[in-house]
Chain length 124, copies 4
Amino acid sequence: MKDPAAGYFNCSDSERAAFEAGIKLGALYHQFVGMPMDPENVEDVERAIEDSIKAQPFVADVKVHIRRDMIKRGRNIYKYCTLHGEMLDVRLVVRYGKSEAVCRLRYVEDLKYPLMYVEAIREV
Amino acid sequence: MKDPAAGYFNCSDSERAAFEAGIKLGALYHQFVGMPMDPENVEDVERAIEDSIKAQPFVADVKVHIRRDMIKRGRNIYKYCTLHGEMLDVRLVVRYGKSEAVCRLRYVEDLKYPLMYVEAIREV
Amino acid sequence: MKDPAAGYFNCSDSERAAFEAGIKLGALYHQFVGMPMDPENVEDVERAIEDSIKAQPFVADVKVHIRRDMIKRGRNIYKYCTLHGEMLDVRLVVRYGKSEAVCRLRYVEDLKYPLMYVEAIREV
Amino acid sequence: MKDPAAGYFNCSDSERAAFEAGIKLGALYHQFVGMPMDPENVEDVERAIEDSIKAQPFVADVKVHIRRDMIKRGRNIYKYCTLHGEMLDVRLVVRYGKSEAVCRLRYVEDLKYPLMYVEAIREV
């Protein structure tokens, strides 16, 4: 994909890939956390979030998994549940120019935090 | 559905139905507006929003339509678009006890406003 | 306030007040839950949410309280916290015509649920 | 600030700074767009958004400006307006280790797009 906004950036391809990946993960988290969902219907929610990310530029691949163990605990008196950040396990690959950023969002038990991190930067 | 929270309310069934409908429309708007989406994929977004509403209590029926004419105009330099409140046309029926609230969210040209309103309250 | 959209509604003043209150509570929850905040700065967040609600039509009064006990527990490894629905205690009064809906959003321990409910409907 | 999550990352300091800046801008956009606000009260909204960003890790500086010209046009029948992405002009500096990413979110007329971009990466 030719980037119509390339002229606005002053950074390397790998920094750009990391920046774009950060945008997508920040957007995903703050767009979808709080969403009411049917516990019987989690696959469709995963697909809907993936589609929303894939629609954005420079996304080479994305996999969204919502943790079934937390959904079970999260069912409320009305039998539905709300998407919490802790439930998300996302693997995102962003490609810009010749660089790829492989990123992750998942709840890290050791940190008790839904961490967004860069697993690898690689040339493609 | 037996309502486990009934004891907390001091209002009639029709007022409750209207209240619950308002919650769902306010939630829908502020949860999903801003969502990036693929213009080729609008049906799936409509279904995902409907599923999220149906998961909540007292929803008898919901139909979400995203206006195709506005999506076409809304496509950006990266070929995706963002869900705007003006694009939404939602018809929602909430039932509580013996009352039903038939509600709507749609952009009203005369008011230049995405209006949430009560089309009818009826006994069932 | 004269209501420019009155002609679109088919319901009583009390049903309208309940509907409008539901919209505001649903909006508040889904707009602000997930917001990162500084635990030293909670008063300002409360005011910002109140101001956002007061900007909307038919709001006679609103009081937003964020539970300090939950904020303390909610501090993460980076010393900030994220607004959860469970932290909110909101009292909202909506007036339409001659009716007033006094509503509440708060986490109800007995239900383990952040309940939005109607405390009273009254004539004014 | 010592980073408790440093061990999870495989990238340079400058890539990390760009990644963290992307997260903050994506979060800001998707958390706050759609927020109802009083046009008389824009300064407070700017401060509230800045505070929410500053609460997050590695933010060295942030300045949020909401475009007054667009607010004027955005006033609706009920005299309030809703925060649109196009209204935002944000300058964000993220520091990680010895690198700093100077980033921007603003509506670029030439692209007709609220662009998030990296103005500079520098050593500090």
